[in-house]
């Protein structure tokens, strides 16, 4: 019997590997098309950056040859190329690490993004962590105490208002009133002027303080969704037979909340992390520019402001890559979280 068991395990491992590989390939294809599609649309649209840049260089007096060369350097494509050729050139350059040169700053795009991206990742991840913690705990409590009607109705009103305020609007309101008007929070910058960047405690402290209000903005936008989702899940779990059975056996409420309700409600919530992160990343465009924080959001916002096409496309590629990667990661790791998904593959 055991020999058959090991054989079955080997087969299962191989088919699991196939599924993993399949999923990765699928993601890569989706990523490829996402970028190609946008690139193509931009090139084909009346506002094609290559043509516009070319015309503006010509207007500045450059010869046709020089203008073409400059467009090539900045964006990496030429105006008269067929679109598919441009896309291929773009990808080839991308894999060589070349995303063009920023028209505004004349620095390679990859260098700019490399400097700014870590800040955005820190900001988004830090806010997401707080939003999840607050949302999940609140959701659990709302489910367990759902009979206290006052609590529930006030929270519902608060949530429906928060759902109706877009992140950028909240950023504007809080910034004007709390940062500029009443000066409770620092109005701009990731750290004050005098502090030296580095791994010192004072630097980290300064950064965290400067990010407090921006994090509050993102957390306020994100946590209601988490709380409501968690509450719905927890309420349905509370009615499950295994919870009643646990109560019959005398298991304490504390343990029921953690090992029974939370553990069983978390599973679908895990799949929500990547999409929420995507939304937060997109929101940073407005928030980072409002709070003058370094990051890919403010980079993109500035690029848009001065029509720096190469930087815009570069930022876009990076954000899309992050989103696709996040989704892929969720799918691949889901098996570790949910024993049912892992084992039912085997069974």
């Amino acid at each position: 019997m055991t020999r058959k068991y090991y054989l079955l395990r080997k087969i299962y491992r191989w088919s699991l590997l196939k599924w993993y590989v399949n999923r990765v390939i699928y993601s890569v294809v989706a990523w490829f098309f996402a970028i190609a599609f946008t690139f193509a649309l931009i090139r084909l649209s009346p506002g094609d950056p290559a043509t516009i840049l070319f015309s503006s260089f010509r207007a500045q007096g450059y010869s046709i040859e020089d203008a073409k060369r400059m467009v090539q350097m900045y964006i990496g494509v030429l105006p008269e190329e067929p679109v598919w050729y441009s896309i291929l050139k773009f990808y080839v350059n991308m894999f060589r690490g070349d995303l063009g040169v920023s028209i505004n700053w004349r620095i390679p795009v990859t260098k700019l993004i490399g400097m700014m991206l870590p800040w955005s990742i820190f900001y988004a991840a830090w806010s997401l962590a707080w939003a999840i913690i607050i949302g999940v705990i609140l959701g659990l409590l709302m489910a367990y105490y759902r009979h206290i009607t006052i609590l529930n109705s006030t929270l519902r009103v608060v949530f429906s208002v928060l759902r109706s305020i877009p992140a950028w609007l909240l950023a504007v309101i809080l910034h004007i009133y709390l940062a500029i008007g009443y000066r409770i929070f620092p109005p701009s910058g990731a750290y004050p002027a005098g502090v030296q960047p580095g791994l010192s405690l004072s630097f980290i402290g300064a950064v965290l303080w400067h990010y407090t209000l921006p994090v509050i903005v993102l957390v306020l936008t994100a946590f209601p969704g988490w709380a409501l989702g968690m509450m719905a899940m927890a309420v349905s779990v509370l009615h499950e037979d295994y919870v009643v059975y646990a109560k019959a056996r005398g298991i304490s409420s504390k343990r029921i909340l953690t090992s029974y309700v939370a553990k069983n409600s978390i599973l679908p919530i895990y799949t929500q992390i990547a999409p929420t992160l995507a939304t937060l990343l997109v929101g940073t465009v407005w928030i980072e520019s409002r709070f003058v924080l370094p990051g890919i959001g403010s980079l993109l916002a500035t690029a848009i402001g001065v029509r720096d096409y190469s930087l815009m496309i570069g930022c876009y590629v990076v954000v899309i890559t992050a989103i696709v990667f996040g989704n892929l990661l969720t799918d691949l790791t889901y098996g570790f979280i949910d024993p049912r998904a892992r084992i039912s593959e085997e069974v």
Binding site: Y242, Y245, P339, V347
Partner: protein
């Protein structure tokens, strides 16, 4: 008589959101017997079990007139309904009475292993020595004929129906209770597994000197396992007696119809006879005797006055006007 009584339930009444369901139920549970409670879906049998275990949902309330005197704690008698939930958990829950749920298949936490279920139950009742807990768990799993080595590490999704049922039975015995309530222990299983579980239950009854309360709608199960039977309809006891009395000499029309509805081996010429009528709506109970719309013997008195439970002989009761002298054809 009081020497033998383990649990004495009097005037049990359960309301759900104000609507009475279980009404005026009283019966005794004797030591080492197997009491069968039989009734159709919605008759209130699970409610009685949950009331005894004090796990009614928030919508259910036990009336303050009800009492459940438990004699199993040495020389003390305790009314289980009057204890606070914490007191109940400390004294009675799982230590004196435990329960095997109707849906053993969904009684286990899908994200915990089998081992965790045993450990957490033990810890919830103050046992903290890990080796002692493991010892006990092994003992129980072997008693229910499972291989502890294999089973302890498994998650619910890996277990078959029969295995889950055995685990839930093992869990019920963890603290050596005196009364084990079995709510439909074999309903969701295939026939072969049913047989195996039945045999197991009989063996455990002997080995651990248990008292069973068997709740089911399956008459064959009652015939096999129980020695005394209570028949429930619309939240009230309508007949009580030994298993032979009920089967060979049913008194209440409902019991008679119930027995006739089950086809017997060798009877090929007769079609099964279902009981006519609709099931119980507690918000719109019929006047008088709740069974009268479906009863072939119903007479005028049945529509007006509700029959009370009367003693025919020792431990033989019935609630039907045929036996009160008020019944006319």
């Amino acid at each position: 008589m009081t020497n033998n009584v383990l649990l004495d339930i009097k005037k049990l009444r359960v309301d759900f959101l104000g609507v009475p369901t279980v009404r005026d139920v009283d019966f005794k549970i004797f030591k080492k017997e197997t009491l069968g409670i039989i009734g159709e879906s919605g008759s209130g049998k699970t409610t009685i079990a949950r009331a005894i275990m004090r796990i009614l949902s928030e919508d259910g309330t036990i009336s303050p007139d009800s009492s459940a005197i438990y004699y199993g704690l040495g020389d003390r008698e305790v009314d289980m309904f009057k204890l606070s939930l914490t007191e109940y958990s400390r004294l009675i829950r799982w230590k004196e009475t435990s329960m095997v749920f109707q849906s053993a298949l969904s009684s286990l936490n899908p994200t915990l292993r089998v081992k965790d279920h045993f450990v957490e139950t033990a810890k919830a009742h103050g046992l903290s020595n890990p080796s002692k807990i493991m010892e006990r768990t092994w003992e129980l799993l072997e008693a229910v004929k499972l291989d502890p080595d294999r089973v302890l590490r498994m998650f619910t999704v890996e277990l078959s129906g029969g295995m889950k049922q055995r685990i839930v039975i093992a869990l019920s015995l963890l603290l050596n209770p005196k009364i084990v309530i079995l709510d439909e222990p074999t309903t969701a299983l295939d026939v072969l597994t049913q047989r195996a579980i039945l045999d197991l239950l009989k063996k455990l009854h002997e080995t651990f000197k248990l008292t069973y309360v068997l709740i089911t709608h399956d008459i064959a199960l009652i015939a096999d396992l129980a020695n005394r039977v209570i028949v429930i309809y619309a939240g009230k006891i309508i007949e009580e007696g030994s298993v032979e009395d009920i089967f060979y000499n049913p008194l209440h029309p409902y019991t008679k119809l119930l027995l006739e509805a089950v086809p017997k081996l060798g009877e090929f010429d007769r079609l099964p006879k279902p009981i006519p009528g609709v099931s119980i709506d507690y918000m719109n109970l019929p006047s008088g005797c709740s069974f009268h719309p479906r009863c072939p013997y119903a007479s005028n008195i049945c529509m007006v006055k509700e029959p009370s439970l009367i003693n025919i002989e020792k431990n033989r009761r019935v609630a039907c006007h045929i036996y009160t002298g008020l019944w006319k054809k």
